[in-house]
Amino acid sequence: MNDPVLAVEGLTKRFGALIANEEIDIDVRRGEVHAVIGPNGAGKTTFISQLAGELPPDTGRIALNGRDITALPVHRRALLGMARSYQITSVIPSFTALENVAFAAQAVDGHSYRFWRPAQAAHHLNEKALAILGEIGIADRSGVLAKNLAHGEHRQLEIAMALATDPQLLLLDEPTAGMGPGATESMIGFLDTLKGRYSILLIEHDMDVVFSLADRISALVNGRRVATDTPDSIRRNAEVRRAYLGDRADRLVLPQAGA
């Protein structure tokens, strides 16, 4: 239980003179939700892109389940159990919702060099996909082409695809981006059911989401990690408040303090 699922040490990424990520150390323990917060330009997207393998770090080390994956390409990391959802919806538009999730399940099922039997005859993939769509609440939309789904449904499909790969670690990049209050509420509810079953690194702007889900929170400011702590301590952390939360921290804290 002590060894973390994800261990990041000294991750640094520069773009010319700009230091996007500087010496970031973060770990995600098994079964925890670890949120990464920070103002725009703090380097959150650069950070998650390096974790997923889309950006090569300048220096630093990334380990998944104790294995160094710093030099592995995106698809190898995915097969080792790292699943990602994108901030901007990234699905296969010409596939139905069910096909999208079944396609994700196929990635870990292996046997993609099968040239003869129809893909839709793979019942175990379809059943797994349907179960996940049911869990996330869009099973009734399984036959709809992904390009015809509504925005909120896209966000749900996005998560469903990540779950279908049986991940060890979920990298969720703003899962509620662009959602209305009601949809955000139900997404929080769903993500809450994942707690404990998955290890999650959550990047999120919406503080309601962060504080209702996270076990620990790390704050990035100007590319540096300034704090990692429990949500309560982060609320009180002076440096975080000054850099990021500002008066919003008061609003978040005050109701609880008054309760």
Binding site: V74, H75, I92, P93, S94, Q106, R114, F115, R117
Partner: protein, 327 residues
């Protein structure tokens, strides 16, 4: 899931099937008229359709716009020609050799061209085909063979002793059988798990990678399969014409193939056959009256692209039927 019949995913007989069956029937009965010229046109449609179908696997399903597909038409043809030059006529050697060499060529070319996407992919496939075009022009065997003279074939590669391929009708039926086999195999391929990966790479390569797919390798295999089918078609084309020359490799041929697929309707396998038929018939029909047959075909191409975004096949698709188009 909705039940699917075998016939290209449709649930009931409709206009498309009527047109397909009519077209097939025409190709079937053409030899009965005994007009060698008509049989030749029909065989040309059949053989070029094979290449167009193979290109559709790349273009319509893989989103890879190969502007160099003539290279496989040439490679298959030259394998037959060179083997015949050295006295190897047997079709059981020539056809597999044509496929094997074309798959190898596709693997080598694919290793380089598949590192690019979009316009760069179009340009680099074009560049490779042109390289081979000039290579074929440069290599001569003695005075009369190779180079811009091309290579002749004295007799069509025999397959079974009893079949006389010098009878145009027999060769035509053989080609038609090969086209049907290619169509069936391609249909199975694009609906398989592998086909699903290829289509996903077309739609959203980044996502496919992040789910764990090594997209480059899947595309390479697709490129090799497409190249192999086109190589077989090249061998058949050589047998049909009893002649191969660098002209088979020229970029204009690659462009014609793209037009056939796009006019007929990419991402359907059937569309490219329709496109090839229209192309060949117009070429033969109009070029009897004027050299400038492209002046008529060009506007038609524009109309089809403007009004039928999925080509002629898309126009005859029954209303309300969705498709797997990616963009």
């Amino acid at each position: 899931m909705a039940p699917r019949s075998f016939l290209f995913g449709a649930q009931k007989f409709d206009l498309r099937h009527a047109i397909m069956l009519a077209g097939f029937a025409v190709l079937l009965i053409v030899p009965l008229f005994g007009d060698a010229y008509l049989v030749r046109i029909a065989s040309r449609i059949v053989v070029l359709s094979m290449v167009a179908v193979s290109l559709d696997i790349l273009l319509g399903y893989g989103g890879l716009i190969s502007f160099g597909h003539a290279m496989f038409l040439g490679s298959g043809g030259y394998v037959v020609g060179v083997l015949a030059f050295f006295g190897v006529e047997n079709g059981f050697v020539a056809y597999p050799a044509a496929i094997l060499l074309s798959v190898t060529l596709a693997a080598l070319v694919g290793l380089i061209v598949l590192r690019t996407v979009g316009v760069y992919f179009i340009m680099i496939t074009l560049a490779f085909a042109q390289m081979l075009y000039y290579l074929a022009n440069a290599i001569r065997i003695g005075e009369d063979y190779g180079g811009d003279e091309g290579l002749p074939l004295s007799r069509r590669s025999p397959l079974f002793g009893i079949l006389n391929f010098d009878d145009p009708a027999v060769f035509h039926y053989f080609a038609l059988a090969v086209l049907l086999a290619i169509l069936f195999v391609s249909y199975k391929l694009v609906h398989s798990r592998f086909g699903r990966v290829i289509e996903a790479c077309r739609d959203n390569e980044r996502r496919a990678k992040s789910l764990g797919y090594d997209t480059f390798r899947y595309r390479l295999v697709a490129f090799m399969i497409s190249g192999g089918i086109a190589g077989l078609a090249g061998a058949m084309h050589m047998n049909l014409q009893k002649f191969v020359s660098p002209d088979e490799l020229h970029w204009i041929i690659s462009g014609d193939l793209l037009i056939m697929v796009i006019v007929g309707g990419a991402n359907s396998l059937i569309g490219p056959i329709i496109g090839t038929s229209v192309f060949v018939l117009l070429e033969e029909g109009i070029s009897n009256y004027t050299e400038h047959w492209m002046a008529i075909f060009g506007p038609l191409l524009i109309l089809v692209v403007l009004f039928g975004r999925r080509g002629i096949y898309g126009l005859i698709r029954p209303r309300g039927e969705g498709g797997g188009e990616g963009r």
